[in-house]
């Protein structure tokens, strides 16, 4: 689809908007609808749209296969790590009150980190799945 000038131009304009919107959904999830999962999916959708028009190899320039694998594990580790952090703080697993002096600050911090972990893993898995499917040719 690289030869279609309309697709190419529209994609180049719209992909940055999609990525910024995904960050908004990620970090504004405390106040409006959305959160890590939706943000991760939208972030991945931006890359998938770009890859649909410019080829799957375009993703490799930003996220190599190794980077994607590290991101997949990193998000989950971040989530689980926050749980252990609250254990060290003397509270129950994933009780964010322990993360700061003020319980509400701790809750804010915990939710922020946990949603970030969700977003990273979801985005990485979605891009990985797309690359795995689209990178194959019919046998």
């Amino acid at each position: 689809m690289k030869d279609n000038v309309v697709l190419r131009v529209v994609t180049k304009i719209i992909v940055p908007v999609i990525l910024v919107f995904s960050l908004y959904v990620q970090f504004h999830g405390d106040y409006g609808p959305g959160g890590g999962f939706q943000a991760g999916v939208i972030f991945a959708a931006g890359f998938i749209l770009y890859a649909l028009v410019f080829g799957v190899e375009a993703i490799d320039r930003v996220f190599s296969a190794a980077t994607l694998r590290i991101m997949t594990a990193l998000g989950l580790l971040l989530f689980a790590g926050v749980g252990f952090w609250s254990l060290i703080g003397g509270e129950r697993y994933l009780d964010y009150d322990a993360l700061a002096q003020e319980p509400l600050v701790g809750q804010h911090l915990g939710i922020f980190l946990v949603e970030l972990g969700v977003g990273i893993t979801v985005a990485a898995v979605m891009i990985t799945v797309f690359v795995a499917f689209a990178g194959r040719t019919p046998d």
């Binding site: 999830g29 609808p33 991945a44 964010y96 939710i111 893993t121 898995v125 797309f130």
Partner: protein, 179 residues
């Protein structure tokens, strides 16, 4: 007014589902699935479940459509002629559907404040989350804090799905690159 919208949306859902069954061009079927998801997202918005609608719109309309299109790219876009007769599957599906509808007759009315689900922990979440969590979106508070275990489990499922796809599809592709 909202009832009219809901009836129209459900009617369109039914039309899309029947069209998806009747069509034999798989590309058109995938487009029908995508429209179905978009309509489902609209239904969720009409039910004030914007977070769910958001997810449905992003995953159902976006990602899964692209994945199904990628699969069609591999397997070809035309349905193979079915080798079996549709009688028995149709009977099973109809019977299951009737049993499910019968099951919903016992369910509380939509939005009934006396429904059991609104009597258990939901009042606690709604009334105390501003004090205990301190963020305006209760859904995020429930998902990330009160139900943090569940969300961790869900993320583990997504992680496992990614690993599974890599194990099935990714490794083979890497071998081909090396050769």
């Amino acid at each position: 007014m909202i009832e009219v919208v809901t009836v129209i949306l459900f009617g369109m859902l039914a039309v899309t589902a029947i069209a998806a069954i009747r069509l034999h061009d798989l590309f058109a079927v995938v487009m029908m699935f995508s429209i179905y998801s978009l309509l489902a997202a609209a239904v969720f918005v009409a039910m004030d479940a914007v977070d769910v609608a958001f997810t449905e719109a992003a995953v159902g309309v976006g990602i899964s459509t692209v994945l199904m299109l990628a699969t069609i790219g591999l397997v070809g876009r035309h349905e193979k002629r079915p080798t079996h007769r549709p009688g028995l599957p149709l009977a099973v599906v109809t019977l299951t559907g009737m049993v499910l509808v019968y099951g919903t007759l016992d369910m509380p009315r939509f939005g009934d404040p006396l429904a059991p689900i609104h009597q258990h922990v939901a009042p606690h979440y709604l009334q105390d989350s501003p004090v205990e969590i301190g963020i305006p979106n209760v859904v995020t508070g429930v998902l990330a804090s009160y139900r943090g275990y569940d969300t961790l489990g869900e993320l583990t499922v997504i992680f496992t799905a990614g690993i599974g796809v890599l194990a099935l599809l990714g490794i083979r592709r890497r071998k081909r690159d090396e050769s």
